[in-house]
């Protein structure tokens, strides 16, 4: 409940304040967001599995976002930023699908 409300507040804040993304961060923000989404779905799945843990969630959320952004940053430095960001998105996408499948099985028993 609290996370959902906080999420809504965050979205409203982002829409209201309308900050511009610093150019230096622009390639990394979307990757970090996708990584955080993956962590959120993983957290929901763990909650439904009954193995949710605050610490694990916080650490995985932060580390997911940071690692994804860092990977893309390193890729940029090596000149393969585009490909590496695609790779990260693909991996995170697969994980999100798997987590969503598990959530679906829990919710609909199917």
């Amino acid at each position: 409940m609290i996370p959902a409300v906080a999420l809504a507040i965050g979205v409203a804040l982002g829409l209201l304040v309308q900050p511009s993304v610093p150019i230096a961060l622009q390639p990394y923000l979307p990757i970090a967001v996708v990584a955080a989404l993956d962590a959120v779905f993983g957290g929901v799945r763990a909650m439904l599995d009954g193995i949710f843990d605050d610490r694990v969630f916080v650490v995985s959320f932060v580390s997911n976002a940071v690692v994804a952004a860092v990977m893309v940053f390193v890729g940029d430095q090596l000149g393969v930023g585009g490909q590496l960001s695609t790779a990260v998105i693909v991996v995170l996408g697969i994980r999100i699908f798997q987590n969503l499948a598990a959530i679906r099985r829990h919710l609909f028993r199917a």
Binding site: I2, L13, A36, V40, A46, V58
Partner: protein, 236 residues
């Protein structure tokens, strides 16, 4: 270990507050990112390699469009050239048709020339005399001739008929009036040479000839063209 009851009970422990903050940050970043994607120009944010790719795409497209322009311009030039050649060919054909029309007697002709009148009250002027006159006029460069309203062309023939003559089947009587288009001075001199038309006619009884050069005469008698029955254009 029982996280779900914690969340459900809404008891704000340190963990749930942290999770809430993270969720808020996520929502914030999500909104910001979506909005920046909608609003900002993509180029300042794009990577160098992406920019290079975009540039490559654009220059490839430019090359293709340039080729298309070249091709279309060539087509245009060809088409306008065709039109030019066609009108030149048409003008040439028209010019030839006019030339041949004057030659064949199907078109009226006008220009400098002379009038030649042979008076012959006694009927002593024969077809031969008139034929000689026609030949001498031709030799002197006559381009179009008519005699008493009958066009004289290459196939014209003269036959004695009673007191007069028949030109191409039309009976003519004196006075014989030639209307001739050509260089009037040359034609007049040709008529006057010793042993020429004037001399011959003057030697005949009662006959008289008047040569009258004019800056402009009109040969408006026409001739119906008969298509050849046997002759066909031939490549040599």
């Amino acid at each position: 270990m029982s996280g779900a009851p914690d969340l459900v009970r809404l008891r704000p422990t340190r963990g749930t507050v942290l999770i809430g903050i993270l969720a808020g940050v996520l929502g914030f970043a999500l909104a910001v990112q979506v909005r920046s994607q909608q609003e900002t120009d993509v180029f300042p944010a794009a990577r160098q390699e992406d920019l290079v790719r975009i540039l490559d795409d654009l220059s490839a497209r430019e090359d293709r469009l340039r080729l298309e322009i070249d091709e279309l311009e060539r087509t245009r030039d060809r088409l306008s050239g065709d039109v030019g050649q066609e009108s030149v060919a048409l003008d040439e054909a028209r010019r030839r048709a006019e030339m041949l029309g004057i030659l064949a007697g199907t078109l009226p002709a006008a220009g400098p020339g002379l009038r030649l009148t042979i008076e012959d009250p006694a009927g002593t002027v024969t077809a031969e005399v008139l034929l000689d006159a026609i030949q001498e006029l031709r030799d002197a460069g006559a381009e179009a001739m008519m005699l008493n309203g009958v066009r004289i062309v290459a196939s014209s023939h003269l036959v004695r008929e009673g007191r007069g003559v028949a030109l191409d089947g039309t009976t003519l009587t004196a006075p014989y009036r030639f209307t001739v288009v050509g260089e009037s001075q040359t034609l007049a001199e040709a008529m006057g040479i010793p042993g020429g038309v004037v001399d011959v006619v003057a030697s005949l009884a009662d006959a008289r000839v008047v040569v009258d050069p004019r800056p402009r005469v009109v040969v408006d008698a026409l001739r119906q063209l008969r298509p050849p029955v046997y002759a066909r254009p031939s490549e040599r």
